[in-house]
Amino acid sequence: MRRAATLLALGVLSWLTLLVGPVGAADGVPKPTIRIANEGACIAPAEEMRRNHMDMLKHQRDRTLRQGIRGEKASLNECIECHASKSTGSVLGKDHFCASCHAYAAVKLDCWDCHQPKTGFKATGAKP
């Protein structure tokens, strides 16, 4: 009797899992849009870039600013050159390279408080 009850309970559980499982997955946050203009032209394979780009940029920024080393492999301006949207010229905004992934990962970016997110941007020097 006890064995039969356990089997029944297991059966009900597995049925519930089957019913709920796939529905839950389909309700997940939509994956970010990643449009890459020059596929395969990056400084490292996509898997490595996804995992390590923040470390590459952090170490490069310290070497460039504090030691004055120029022409390093990793460079935020080079990221922007390749990955800026064809329509807006920016890596920011919905569906564009940096912003879409970081919104998905819920990581707030401070880079653009100071850095220019648009490719080929030339500031005007109107005196304040």
Partner: protein, 243 residues
């Protein structure tokens, strides 16, 4: 080595430099070629960048250097309160009350060898690069503005509002302190600072204070030059002539 010996040594090396330069090659070109650093190479103590400003050539009312700085560094925002405007370089008109002698000069970060802004910074954001350029590492600046208080030259500004029109080569933004960088993005590529290049009177001379053959060292050896507030013994990288 006594003081006089050293003076003689400097004069002799300057003479050698003159002989070595081929006819038709300007000293400025040599200085620029020397300043180009290969990719991947850090700045070193073998150089110390500085400036010599001849105030006798600096015209009152001319602010071409200020405009050139604004264009190069993307200082283009309109601020609600003019006291909050970023001033990386400003023109100052001075009058000696005793003699009524007037002159005009550009004032900016003096790139001290012993910078008070670096001493007081609680995070290490205010820093001096090996080649003497004093910079703010905005990545770790918390905007406390101690450095602005410490600077005797009022050379630093604080950005109060969000910016969007930065030049890609010159990142700058809200919540950070900033000042003249000697146009570090140009120097590292062997170019002159924007203000020096733009000055119509050629009143600003940029060069390597560690290089005995550089024009700036030779001029400092032959003419009377002054450090502003020399009494503070900060050993400024920006020197003035005629004040």
């Amino acid at each position: 080595m006594s003081h006089n010996d050293r003076r003689g040594f400097l004069a002799a090396t300057a003479g050698l430099g003159l002989v070595a330069i081929a006819p038709g090659v300007h000293l400025m070109q040599v200085a620029q070629a020397q300043s180009q650093r290969a990719a991947g190479q850090p700045a070193t103590k073998r150089q110390r960048w500085g400036m010599l400003i001849d105030t006798t050539k600096c015209a009152k009312g001319c602010d071409v250097c200020v405009s050139a700085c604004a264009t190069e560094n993307g200082i283009n925002e309109t601020v609600a309160d003019p006291r909050q405007a970023s001033q990386w370089i400003r023109k100052i008109d001075i009058k000696d009350p005793q003699s009524d002698r007037q002159y005009s000069l550009p004032m900016m970060c003096q790139h001290c060898a012993e910078p008070p802004c670096v001493d007081v910074c609680p995070t290490g954001a205010s820093m001096k690069r090996a080649d003497g350029i004093v910079l703010v590492d905005r990545h770790i600046c918390i905007g406390c503005r101690y450095c602005m208080m410490a600077c005797p030259y009022k050379a630093r500004s604080f950005v109060h509002q969000p910016l969007t029109q930065q030049n890609p080569e010159v990142p700058r933004g809200i919540g950070c302190v900033e000042s003249c960088t000697l146009c570090v993005q140009r120097i590292d590529r062997g170019r002159l600072p924007a203000c020096v290049e733009a000055c119509p009177e050629k009143a600003m001379l940029f060069g390597d204070l560690e290089d005995p053959n550089s024009e700036i060292v030779r001029r400092a050896a032959s003419a009377a030059t002054t450090q502003v507030r020399a009494d503070l013994k900060l050993n400024t990288g920006v020197r003035y002539q005629g004040i």
